[in-house]
Symmetry: C2
């Protein structure tokens, strides 16, 4: 029995996003069922844990059979299985149709273009046809271009920023297979993110715009902060574009819209994740309603929660170091816990791997500059080391 | 495996305080073992759940055998069993010696008196000797006096405010057994609470003073808020007295110190709870470090966290109505979720009972007055009703 909330939620995926989703709703005793590999971060919090692959149709159906509502915390899952369940009447949020669009970065780009939403200029092609498409590639501007797999990329994998003269079948066919996207690169710009929440009735709210600072060596977010250092006009425009995109997807659920801002103050929509996102972790400590609770509210058809920030905030990912795989320990977390306003989240992953997201921390401070300085000091002390 | 924290915590008691204690540390993957009756609110979050009575020595030992550290979330437990475990080297926080003092309200009063801490004038006696002690009772001032059981009282039970002429063996021996405490009543005053956290090294922090508003019909806290509406001098004096009491208890752990403030601005220490407390629920939403996380930090010998409030806050208990026992449902929680800054905690109790604490909610608002108004509006809509 789980009162006042009787409905159970099934999550396809039990990684850190699933873990924090479950944590956000324990105050309401929401029951979660989870499908993922054994030892996944969220596994121990599941009412029913279903061990299996996220692309195993039978396991997805098993999850649905014990859950009133299905959501997912990762895009690389079997969307066709969800589509079938949806046709059979299961509540799946966001809808599998949206997932099918988003799983393919080519389809995403076409969708933005058709809607007239600003996005960088691009071409779609098969990696084997690169050398035949020289002319189209010539029409893209800039010394460097971005090459992306249309499907399967994740956490900086399947994305390459490359000098235009190095773009050839010879250079790219080892790293990329099948359909790819080549697009213009926004140089000297900023990367922004807007989390959009939209419910069944079409009510929509956004979180304050987040500014992400990338570590080029890892092609991963190094740290991010909110509010973004952008003008009021850009803040509003970023929110407007993001809402527009989610509305036209007919999106119900939580969506992270990533955007570029170039040095001429032009915004470009980059891509959308139809789930809680790394760029919304900070909402746990800095907002009345976290992105995770917000999604639970939408799943349960409850009113949307307030999204305002009560403090400037920095979020830093804690990443598995390049030289270490397997067993590990964390050091420096006691230094972190000494900093007023700092909070640690650890994902309970059994093994570290180079570049793997192992945890994150947030720092709240009424001065954003101080929060960033404190985050850097903490980052210098936190280390994942061999046991 | 639970990284970065390898130690497990055993909690004697799995009620709402235990539940929120566990929830506070899931971001760190702390493992908790819990002893309580089947169906207790925290049961489903336990790594090892031990079903049994909180006064069953064997079950307490079983809990200790699987836990690195022991704490408790209720005072009515077997302190002698903990004392023995402590002598055998088990880390028990707060210490069983403190629990033995606090379990007996007579010993508590003597302790404050010996320390010279302000407390209301009182006498200790056996309920059967009331009529023989008329003269001592005469020396206590006021039209009304407070009668308390020395042991076993909880949540307003075992406490009676009574006209002095009604104090007689005949009137009281039905309701009270054994040793009782009769003390002066602070009329037209305020009830305050200070949560004190003190670690092994003697570092001590307090949370901002809370003001509690009682519902006299239930003898339970109706709502409370922070910061308290008291002068800076009273705020500091309340914190000083509370720290003094905890230091002299040699207290390590989390302590809720309840105080009265009379209309002449005199403070009196009432009693101490050696555990997370109803008057600290609001710290989950309103402080960087909640009272629950603070206790986990102390248990794990981590640095104390920052205790400042980032917003005025109101907390309201949701109490089982007088006419209903057994199965129930909650209505009105969707209205609550519409209020920006309002958060609901539900304790997952299988049955409601008259006066039982079933849940609570907090409201944050930059205006304390508005937060109180909003809390009242929510309270009017939330109802526990038959299924």
């Amino acid at each position: 029995m789980s009162k006042p909330i009787e409905k159970s939620i099934g999550i396809v995926g039990g990684g850190q996003l699933g873990k924090m989703l479950v944590e956000s709703a324990q105050k309401w005793n929401v029951r979660f069922n989870i499908l993922d590999a054994k030892g996944s971060p969220a596994a121990r919090y599941a009412e029913a844990f279903i061990e299996g692959s996220l692309t195993d149709v039978d396991r997805i159906k098993e999850l649905a059979s014990v859950s009133d509502i299905i959501t997912y915390e990762i895009e690389h899952i079997d969307a066709e299985a969800l589509l079938q369940l949806s046709k059979e009447g299961k509540r799946i949020v966001p809808s599998p149709e949206i997932l099918l669009t988003i799983q393919d970065k080519g389809k995403q780009k076409d969708f933005y273009k058709e809607l007239g939403l600003p996005t960088t200029k691009y071409i779609l092609l098969d990696v084997n046809d690169i050398d035949l498409r020289k002319e189209d590639i010539e029409k893209l501007s800039g010394n460097r271009l971005v090459v992306k797999s249309c499907t399967g990329g994740y956490d900086g994998k399947g994305v390459l920023i490359i000098e235009r003269e190095l773009i050839s079948k010879k250079h790219l066919s080892a790293q990329f297979k099948g359909r790819i996207l080549i697009e213009e690169c926004v140089e000297n710009g900023k990367e922004l993110s807007v989390i959009v929440a939209r419910d069944d009735a079409g009510h929509v709210v956004t979180y304050p715009v987040v500014e992400m600072v990338f570590d080029p060596s890892k092609n991963l977010v190094d740290y991010l902060f909110a509010p973004a250092r952008v003008s009021k006009i850009i803040e509003e425009e970023a929110r407007r574009i993001s809402i527009e995109a989610v509305k036209h997807l007919d999106g119900v659920g939580l969506f992270a819209v990533e955007l570029f801002l170039d040095d001429q103050e032009n915004l470009f929509i980059n891509e959308i994740a139809p789930r809680p996102h790394n760029s919304g972790h900070h909402t746990i400590e800095a907002c009345n309603t976290s992105q995770y609770e917000q999604l639970v509210r939408i799943l349960l058809e409850y009113p949307l929660g307030n999204t305002s920030l009560h403090s400037p905030v920095v979020m830093t990912n804690i990443i598995g170091p390049p030289e270490l795989s397997g067993d590990y320990k964390l050091i420096g977390h006691e230094d972190l816990l000494k900093v007023p306003g700092a909070s640690l989240h650890w994902y309970n992953k059994i093994e570290t791997r180079p570049g793997r997201k192992m945890g994150h921390f947030t720092v709240l401070n009424s001065s954003l500059e101080k929060a960033i300085d404190q985050a850097h000091l903490i980052q210098d002390k936190l280390k994942i080391v061999p046991v």
